[in-house]
Amino acid sequence: MEELIANAEATQEECCGFLLGVDNGIRIITHVVPATNIAPSDRHSRFQIDPLEYLHAEKWAIKNELTLLGIYHSHPGSPALPSETDRKNAQPYFSYVIVSAIKQRFSEIRSWQLNLEHQFEEEIVMLEVTTPVNTNNAIIKKT
């Protein structure tokens, strides 16, 4: 969880990335992979992930026998509630972890998943992140 908080506090723009782990009925997130926010404008309130980064994350998950469980992003200055933009762009199955940071200080973290009516429902996930990674197959040493 420290990685998610640090990522959110480091910038006034929306940060984003991937969540990987295992899904055995309850989701356990073991790896967090930061991604570049490539939104063409207004990155304080929009995020967009490069499709190639997404593809690399999927392949890294398979190679490491993990599951791509979802996406995280931050809401600078706003609660960890999904917006209509978040809902319209969301994918089924994925967990959407939202980190709220007020004046670049962590406020709250909540996770959401789409139901069959394409509406978000809050969910419980476990965060057991032990090692930060990047999908270039290098393990970054935890400092």
């Binding site: 929306e14 984003c16 939104a39 207004d42 309130s45 929009r46 995020f47 967009q48 992930i49 499709p51 190639l52 997404y54 593809l55 999927e58 998950a61 398979i62 599951t67 791509l68 996406i71 992003h73 809401h75 706003s78 999904p82 917006s83 933009t85 978040d86 762009n89 969301a90 994918q91 089924p92 199955y93 994925f94 959407y96």
Partner: protein, 92 residues
């Protein structure tokens, strides 16, 4: 046969398989054959105009088909066609 990489959100429609071997000479032929084999995929991969929706990215190996010949991009027997959903959102 091309190999189609299925993203995690769509694997429930392919018996939880991440890779499917699909015949076809172009990207569109591969997508059409894939959706014929797994009909629930059709609404995710083919819009009312018979094209791939804008929120779906298709890669032939590491190249986005938007930079190639779109849905008419040729596909060979050892080609990997990757389906990548657009990931975006935000406060506004």
């Amino acid at each position: 046969m091309a190999t189609v990489f299925i993203p995690t959100p769509l694997r429930k429609f392919t018996n939880h398989t991440s890779k499917v071997e699909v015949p076809g000479g172009t990207v569109m032929e591969v997508i059409q054959t894939l959706t014929s084999t797994y009909p629930p995929l059709q609404r995710h991969l083919i819009n009312a105009d018979g094209k791939v929706p804008s929120f779906i990215n298709i890669f032939v190996d590491d190249d986005d088909i938007r930079n190639l010949q779109q849905e008419q991009t040729p596909v060979k027997s050892n080609t990997i066609v990757s389906i990548v959903p657009a990931i975006a959102g935000g406060l506004k």
